[in-house]
Amino acid sequence: MLSWTAVHAPEHRRPQPWPIRVSHWLNVPLLVIMAASGLQILAAYPMQGPQGRPYDWYPFQGITPPEWSRLGDWLAGARHWHFAFAWFLALNGVAYVLYLAFSGEWRRRLFLPRRDTRNALDTLAFYVRLRKHAPEQGLYNGLQRLAYTGTLVLGALSILTGLVLYKPVQLGSLTRLFGGYDSARALHLIVLAAFALFTVGHVVLVLLHPRTLGEMVTGGRKPDA
């Protein structure tokens, strides 16, 4: 399509080009601020479900998130943090997706079911010792592609459900799409839990493969060099 995408095909680029690195490291403070201010907001009403009809599936009804996990001191402070930094998280996500699309990087990063399902299952089998050798892989294996693509889905879900909580009436069709205000609020929290789970797995696997950390800092070596 665009000639420069052909010239700089991802295969000839360093493992982590600078836009990916910048976006990745910006996510760290942004996600921490959003999670911690979000938990301070949750502390104002640590229940799920409308008044008088609490959801019976939610195991933490009435339990306030611990103080170390919260940012913003009080509800108004936390809301201002949350709505100020939500813009930067969203902009970072949009910039990342645009970069993936126009650089061609999506080809070696996104999970494409037809291409990657087999490799993801084989990698999983290797991790649980059902397989002796890891399957062949390029920059990422299928399981990594699935996990990283999953975070994009989580990011989109967090923004969309967050918009429902912010403007449930003005964005009425979005509210309906998520089954109403209270189910969007529950989903917003579930997305946070999923992000937290991903982060734990991500950090553990990076510690087991420290080379990837170096590449996310320096960009790594070009394949031909």
């Binding site: 509800l75 201002h80 100020a84």
Partner: protein, 230 residues
């Protein structure tokens, strides 16, 4: 030495900048305050006067007794004897209206979801007079871009942008769930709306003023956002 001082000054400056930029106890100042003003413009641009909150069936009603009550006084405020609503500001016919006067104006009724700043929602039906009908009745001036609401609940008040105040689902409610409004829910008259968070809906009303400039609000003056649309 000179370099040391410069560095120390720079560090102190940076620390001062960070604290003043994002001070949770003063969230309407500094960087957070600038972002609030940006968000207020965003919310105002997003506001569509024709966007109505869906009317809900009675089955969605919050169970009896579970709809939260809210007042800042120590006990439920009761209306003073001879209560009447004072309407003033940029209007052709300022004056006072009794509850009977208000009930003679066109009546509106709806059952919609309530959104509290704390994150909970609740459902009740409300009846009363649309604020836009009251505005027409008193001849509110088009230059009145804001509406201020005052109460007998220990000085609780708020002020609204005109488009939100004139929304079809913004009313001065004198009834809830088919009954006259109870003191616990803001009797004799309270503001109710589909398009604002609960703390903007002033209960125990005494005054409605059509003004050219926004005033603050009880929670707004303490750091909560002023626009607070939903």
């Amino acid at each position: 030495m000179r370099r040391l001082i410069t560095r120390r000054t720079a560090l102190l400056g940076a620390a001062a900048l960070t604290t003043s930029a994002c001070d949770s106890s003063r969230p309407r100042e500094g960087f957070l305050g600038a972002m609030e003003r940006f968000n207020a413009r965003f919310q105002s641009a997003l506001f569509d006067a024709d966007q109505l909150a869906p009317e809900l069936p009675p089955s969605e009603d919050t169970p009896p007794g579970a709809f939260p009550q809210y007042y800042i006084s120590d006990t439920v405020p009761f209306a003073p004897a001879g209560w009447a609503l004072k309407v003033g500001g940029l209007v052709q016919r300022p004056g006072v209206l009794s509850l009977e006067d208000l009930q003679r104006l066109p009546r509106t009724e709806y059952r919609i979801r309530h959104h509290c700043v704390e994150g909970w929602s609740a459902v009740a039906s409300w009846h009363g007079v649309r604020l836009r009908d009251l505005a027409e009745h008193v001849g509110a001036d088009p230059r009145a871009g804001y509406v201020e609401f005052r109460s007998f609940d220990s000085g609780y008040y708020s002020s609204w942008d005109r488009p939100s105040a004139f929304h079809a689902q913004t009313m001065l409610a004198y009834g809830m769930n088919g009954q006259p409004l109870l003191p616990a829910h803001g009797a004799p008259l309270r503001l109710y709306s589909a398009v604002k968070l609960g703390y903007k809906m002033v209960k125990y009303l005494t005054e409605v003023n059509f003004l050219p400039e926004p005033t603050g609000g009880y929670w707004e003056d303490r750091g909560y956002e002023w626009f607070a649309g939903v």
